[in-house]
Amino acid sequence: MGILEIHNLSKDYSGTVVLNDFSLDVVELTLCCLLGPNGAGKTTTMDMITGRQKPSSGRILLNDNDITGLDEHEIARRGIGRKFQVPAVFKDLTVRQNLEVAYSRQTSPFKNMFRFRDPGMERKLDEVATQVGLTQRLAIEAGTLSHGETQWLEIGMVLMQDPQILLMDEPAAGMTEQEIDKTSRMFNELKKTKTLVVVEHDMAFVREIADVVTVMHMGAHLATGSIDQIEANARVREVYLGSEEH
């Protein structure tokens, strides 16, 4: 059984179906890539898992607990971290402050009023900054980072949360080839201790990192398998890979 299970998830906006009976099992300590053409429902699925949107029907289980329809912060506290498609960092805050905010063991406003120094946080921050390669950039404002660095910062913020499951929406988008290499090394390291779900379009990157690939099409499940199986799948080639070739 998977650590994260999605059962028969559906979503429609007054008749327009965006997700249609979609199911997915994510196995612990694997990296699962979600593929699909634009509008396939990948980001919508992430929105449902993290509570940003409520499904019309279906259930989402985390460690066998139903988390369907909980608020965003409750789902985050249960151990699901998310990196957004458009990197969402706090541009006016420094890189260090971005990472500090993301360290959310203590969420009570009153207890946080008396929190000025936190050795546990400092240790974690050093560790994460090294992991995402931003140790030299801690003091600068996040708004001045390059696009690739902003992606890493947001990945770092997710790591500061120390979640069980990391949802990464297009983490390599807009990165140079060297940056993509560095990111895939980072992810291969991460999946030793974390479970990851990654939405990505860059097939070379997917081949580097994916343990299992699930393809979505028109809001529904199309195929699941290893990258080689997916690339050999005739239906997938038809709707997705095929359309890219011409």
Partner: protein
């Protein structure tokens, strides 16, 4: 020349705050004019209100046009407490205005005010509780920005009308004027003395320094993040509505303390304290002084109210025009108020790193610390 903007230097900020309040503490030594002490104490009350707006709007990003609710409720609570100090359970159990309104016995909601301690507790607890309830309802529903401002304004008008129309309990438009100063444990607080000034100044200074300290905590950092992108903060595991409610309620608590001090100083409260224009004034003080700076907002309140007292007499009818024009000027040209002007002024003194001066603009050197 400085390495980084001294405006953002934490130590310098604390020194300025302490010096500012330290200097103000000496005012009664220079003058013992009783009328001035009383007037300056009311400025201190306005300073508290500006502080509360700065916390809520400048720091928390919640534009609150209804701060008069917490101020007014606190003021009424204190006025009721002081009124009951002049009543006697045997000989005159009811305030005179109730007799004029042919009320036959003391209304139940007035009973707790026989006891001064309970009275002051209620004067502070009711406005704070109101903020907790109203804030929870609004922020849970993710009402924010101009929509929250409109709701707070509507709520203010509702409270104004309730108090105005409850003539038998509140004396309506005439308000409550307790006949004697507040006395606590046998000690009478003379509203025309250096003591009232020091009391208000002490409370203002203590609250300002505590709020300043809180803004540097982890809580302060999270609130900054909420102000920047509340949507993102939710996914980090923080309940945004909880944080917003706490900010709004702490701000209301400060306004309630201001309301209590106001009545101790002027021995009077009426629905005018819940007038829309007064709540808007508080926002203007903070806007002109600089809402992002606690001290800037307080100085804004001193300037505008001082100006109104001294220049207002000279210009009479044109004073409001001058104030309005000044506000438009600040909003247009100094969005961070006078404190922001100081910030950019001090920024000019910062020595540019040599590398940056010589070559084309590269990565920004020198960390900017949030002030």
């Amino acid at each position: 020349m400085f390495k980084s903007n001294p405006y953002h230097n934490k130590t310098a900020q604390w020194v300025v705050y302490v010096l500012f309040f330290g200097a103000l503490a000496f005012v009664p030594v220079l003058s013992d004019d009783a009328f001035m002490m009383n007037q300056f104490a009311t400025y201190g009350v306005f300073g508290m209100l500006a502080l509360s707006i700065s916390l809520c709007w400048g720091f928390g990003g919640i534009l609150n046009l209804g701060q008069g609710i917490a101020f007014g409720l606190g003021a009424y609570g204190m006025a009721m407490t002081m009124q009951m100090q002049s009543q006697d359970p045997e000989t005159s159990p009811m305030p005179p205005f109730m007799l004029n309104n042919s009320v036959e016995q003391l209304p139940l909601m007035w009973e707790p005010f026989w006891h001064t301690g309970w009275g002051i507790f209620i004067a502070l607890a009711v406005p704070t509780l109101f903020c907790v309830i109203f804030g929870t309802i609004m922020f849970r529903a993710r009402v924010s920005g101009p929509f929250f401002a409109i709701m707070s304004l509507a709520m203010l008008s509702a409270w104004y009308t309730i108090i105005l129309d409850s003539q038998p309990f509140t004396n309506g438009v005439n308000g409550i004027s307790p006949p004697a100063p507040l006395s606590i444990g046998g000690f009478e607080i003379d509203p025309y003395s250096g003591f009232i000034y020091w009391m208000v100044l002490f409370l203002l200074a203590a609250m300002t320094l505590i709020i300043k300290l809180i803004t540097t905590s982890k809580f302060g950092l999270i609130v900054q993040a909420v102000r920047a992108d509340s949507e993102r903060v939710r996914f980090l595991g923080y309940s945004v509505s909880y944080y917003e409610t706490v900010i709004y309620a702490v701000s209301g608590f400060i306004a309630a303390i201001a309301g209590c001090c106001w009545v101790v100083a002027v021995q009077y409260v009426s629905p005018a304290q819940l007038d829309v224009s007064f709540s808007i004034s508080m926002v203007i003080w903070a806007g002109i002084g600089g809402r992002m700076s606690l001290l800037g907002s307080i100085i804004g309140a001193f300037m505008i109210q001082g100006g109104q007292s001294y220049l207002g007499d000279e210009f009479l009818a044109t004073w409001l025009l001058i104030l309005g024009g000044f506000f438009i000027f600040v909003v247009r040209f100094l969005p961070k108020g006078l404190a922001g002007l100081l910030e950019s002024g001090l920024g000019l003194l910062v020595a540019k790193p040599a590398a940056e001066r010589e070559s084309a603009p590269g990565p920004v050197a020198g960390a900017k610390v949030q002030g």
